[in-house]
Structure formats: C-alpha cells, structure tokens
Symmetry: C2
Subunit: 311 residues, 2 copies
C-alpha cells in the first residue's frame, strides 16, 4: 500500500492528513501554526509532525510517495513563495526546505488551488477536467483546473478571481487597493458590506440587524422569506454571477464548485448565482453546472495529497 501526506497550512492551524494513494484518509490531525520569527518554525514543525506519524504507524519510507502542501500565498511552479502575510514568510524555498527537513519528496501549491484539486478528485467536481472552484470565505479565493491541471500562472498568481473587477463605478476600496473587486460583494465580509449599505436606507420590516448582521444571517433570513434579505442576496448573486460569466468566457469550464463558509447556506445560494450568470454567459458556456463543494475542511489535505501523487 502506498501512502502520502496532505498538508493544508493556514495562519492559525496546520491541518495534516495521512492518505492512501487512492485518497482515503487514514488519519488527520492539526498542529498550531507558529508565525513568530517570520514563520521560521512552520516547516520544521510540519516535518517533525510527519516524522512522528511515520513512527506511530510504523510506515516504510519506501511506501510514502511524498508530502503535498497548500500554503496561503502564490507559489511558483518550482515551489518558491515570495512572501505570505498570513505566515510571516518572506522569500522562501518551501519545496527545497521541506524536502531537506523531511527526506521526502514535497510538492507545494497555493491553498485555494490545492483545495480545487481536492474537490476535483473527491468532491463536487469529481470526474471533471475543466473546473473552477470559488471559495467564498472572509475573502473570495479561486482555484482553476484546466484539462486536469492547476492554472498556476507566470508568478503563481493564477486564479485570483476575488480580484476581477465586477463594478467599474465602485468608489470603496478592496483590501488589494483596487475598487470594484468581486471580493467586495461576494465574500462573507462583502455580503455584510452590502447588507449594511442596504439597511442604512431601509424602511421595510426585516429580521436583519444592521449592527451585527453576518452573511449567515442574510441567507437564514432569505430562507425565512425576508424581502430585504432577498434583495441583498440578489445583489450578491448578480456580481458573482456576472463575474463567473467572465471567468467562463476565459476558461470554458464544465463545472463551478462553490465552497467556503458562505456556501454553507446551501442550494439556495446557487439559484442566486445561476440566473445572472445565464444573463451574461457566452452561449458556449451556458451548459456549465453549478454545484456546492463537498469536502469542507478536508479539501485542502485531499488536494495536497493529489498534488504530490500526480507529480
């Protein structure tokens, strides 16, 4: 039996998994992300945790294909990161360092891209080869799979779909410094922003409370038939649907997989996205499917495992 490790590095915790080459999760666990001293301990901690697990399961190193890793930063095709705000890293040769520390092959990818690979392997995009995963969390992340391979780009910044512009009239700034980014409308934070703007001038009755509204509140209210919440969801869906129509003209995917915290709202979310998408999609892109992500927090470790298995 062949094994591999899948590692999903976040700013607070590192999720690790021991998987079979078929993608079954034998074990999964977490360690704390130590971001002190420019994140110097992150890779040694991962290597030590994996060494312990090899010991615990008495694994033969010849049976271990390697370590796949997703990190919250652009990653070049040779496994180099040029800075990660979440981890404190500056320039870091992640692949080289981790291979030296662990004695195992390591393959590194951007976390959003890696999660997309996981969903294509075992989740909402299973069986597809041209897939776009949209992660609606604090921000909007993306992972684009073209003909079965992650779209990495020249500098590892492919699939930054949270930063396509969907509103050229916007005057509020996105965290990236531009105005009108998809992230300003379709992330959890963006939905709250839309809700607060709406509630500023709203006179109709609504269950939404302007002071402490969350993205979850909005979709809970939608399900309860709240008219104001419905209009916020329509606005969210219009920006996201229009943005995805532009993505489709570029990439011609067969499926969009919608994940991240916001996607916990469920199928109701998809209906708000699909209608505006169809209004603006190029005719050749109207057959695309919209599905919810299925792997939740396991997408990262599954995709990381796949990354090293198919290297």
């Amino acid at each position: 039996m062949k094994y591999c490790f899948g590692v999903d590095v976040g700013g607070t915790t590192v999720k690790l998994g021991l998987l079979t080459a078929e993608g079954d999760i034998t074990d999964k666990w977490e360690i704390r992300t130590d971001t002190s001293d420019e994140g110097a301990a992150v890779l040694p901690d991962i290597a030590a945790s994996i060494a312990e697990k090899i010991e615990e399961y008495k694994l033969d190193r010849n049976d271990i294909v390697g370590i796949g890793v997703g990190v919250p930063a652009p990653v070049t095709s040779d496994g180099v990161v040029n800075g990660s705000a979440n981890l404190g890293w500056k320039y870091k040769e992640v692949k080289k360092e981790l291979e030296e520390l662990s004695g195992l092959k390591a393959v590194i990818g951007n976390d959003a891209n890696v999660a997309a690979l996981g969903e294509m392997w075992k989740g909402g995009g299973a069986g597809e080869k041209n897939m776009i995963m949209v992660t609606l969390g604090t921000g909007v992340g993306g992972g684009i799979i073209i003909d079965g391979r992650i779209l990495v780009g020249a500098e590892g910044a492919g699939g930054e779909i949270g930063h396509i512009c969907v509103n050229y009239d916007e005057t509020d700034r996105c965290g990236c410094g531009n105005c009108g980014c998809l992230e300003q409308y379709a992330s959890a934070t963006g939905i709250v922003r839309l809700a607060k703007k709406k509630l500023d001038h709203e006179t109709r009755p609504t269950v939404l409370n302007k002071e402490k509204v969350t993205a979850k509140d909005v979709f809970d209210a939608v399900k309860a038939g709240d008219e104001v919440a419905d209009e916020i969801a329509v606005e969210f869906g219009r920006y996201l649907g229009y943005g995805l129509a532009n993505l489709a003209a570029v990439c011609n995917p067969s499926v969009f997989v919608i994940g991240g915290g916001v996607s916990k709202a469920g199928g109701v979310l998809l209906s708000y996205i699909e209608k505006p998408y169809m209004e603006h999609a190029f005719f050749a892109d109207k057959k695309v499917k919209f599905v919810l992500a299925q792997l939740g927090n396991d997408a990262g470790i599954c995709g990381a495992a796949k990354l090293v298995l198919e290297d």
Copy 2:
C-alpha cells in the same frame, strides 16, 4: 530533415505552409475556401493541395510529422467541430476526416488559439510560457497559453475574450446577443462604433469623417495630434485595459501579445492599453509585458505547425 504542414483555414482563403521541424517556412501558398455544400470540399481540397506539395518537393512521407490546422470555430480536444458559421460546417470530425484523406497525422485547434501558439513559438511571445494573445480584428479573438499549452476548455470555447463583459451599463447588443462585450469597444468595428458615437456630438475640429471613419483613421489621427481621436483611443484603451486586467487576475500571464489588423497602428496602441491596465491590475500582475504580434499572417501556419509538432 523532418517536415510538417501548417494550415490556417479562413472563410475566404486557406493559407498553407510547409515548415521544417525547427519552424522555418520552406514554402507557403493559398487556396480558395469552398464553403458551398456546408463546406464539404474544404478538407478534401486541403488534402489534395498537400499531396501535390509532397509530390512537388519529392518528400518522403516518413519525414512528415503531420498536419496542424487552425479553424475558425471552437474545437474539442479530440479534433471535433460543432459548427463553424464561416465555413458552413455543422458537426464535423475534422481530425478523423483529414487523417483519412491525407494519410498523415492531423491535429486541429481554434484559429485564434493556434495563432497564439505561433506567436509564442516564433513571434512576440518567444521564450514565454504564460501568454495571452489578443487579436483585434473585425472581432476580438484570444488565445491563452498556460504553462506552454493552449487553454482549450471543456467545449473548446476557452479564450473567448472578446465576450468578457467590460461595461455592465451598455444597452447596444454585441453579435453574440449580450451587452457590454469587449468586442464592442476594442475590435475594428467597435472602434468605429465608439468614433461615430463621439462624432455625433462633437463640435471641436477633427480630421475624422463620421460617415467613413475606420479604426485606422482613428489611430492615424491620433498620431497627427487630433484631440478628438485621442479621446476615442483613450476610451478604446480603457475598456481593453480593464478587460485585460481581469484576464490577468485569472491567468497571471507574463506577456500580452497584441495582434490583428488594429495592431498595425503600432506602439502607440500599447500606451493606450497599459495605463488603464495598471490602474486595475492585481498587484501580482503588474510586471506583465505588452508587445505587438510579430508574425502577421504567418502566425496561423506557424502555430498550426507547432500544434502538430508538439502533439
């Protein structure tokens, strides 16, 4: 010496080339495109013309790698076209038919994608692996190369960048049926449309004549210092620059190659595109280069040759 044929099929003429495996054009010629009877004669005519050329040069069939073909339609990865308005084709198994007719291996691609491959091999994108070619002609076409490979997409409709929406307030319709497509502003036809709208209400002196203005006229007037033409070019460049910034967020290319008839305006064109691009580009995409296409009409046959050589 190994040889191959590169074929660029247009609605009026078919351009053919005999190339060495190194990409030197040994001979090039054209035949008429016979679109009668749903384009039934197109592939037989190509096969016959190639057979004549093999005879003329006394080529050994063992030295011929195959035939690469670019066609004006989406092409699936197995060489099938589901209709081409320009050629009259309905469903056609282009690869299979041409291989049977010629006795040679054939590889088929979309013409805009194939031209991009040509520019990456021998033209403005030489040495790059992540490149977007934008063809500003009657319409706006695109060819996207990711890590050295054409982005084909699920249905062969990848890289349809003329149909990304860059203006959600547009009420005029694009040929595709949608409103606000890049093609409505950045094609030769689109530039004429912008010019006519401007000239409708223009009182300042200008060399532009509303009744017969062309895209070339606009850029000639720009070079002559015409203020009205400059403003039309600014508008053209804003839509195109903004559109390319969105493309970059998705694909993170290292270079944009600008080709097609409109690009004959030369370097002045690039300055109108780069400024708005930089305003809206995600920070990781600001290092991209803008260059003019170099191969002109040979991009199609060169790229088609490359397509079969690297298959």
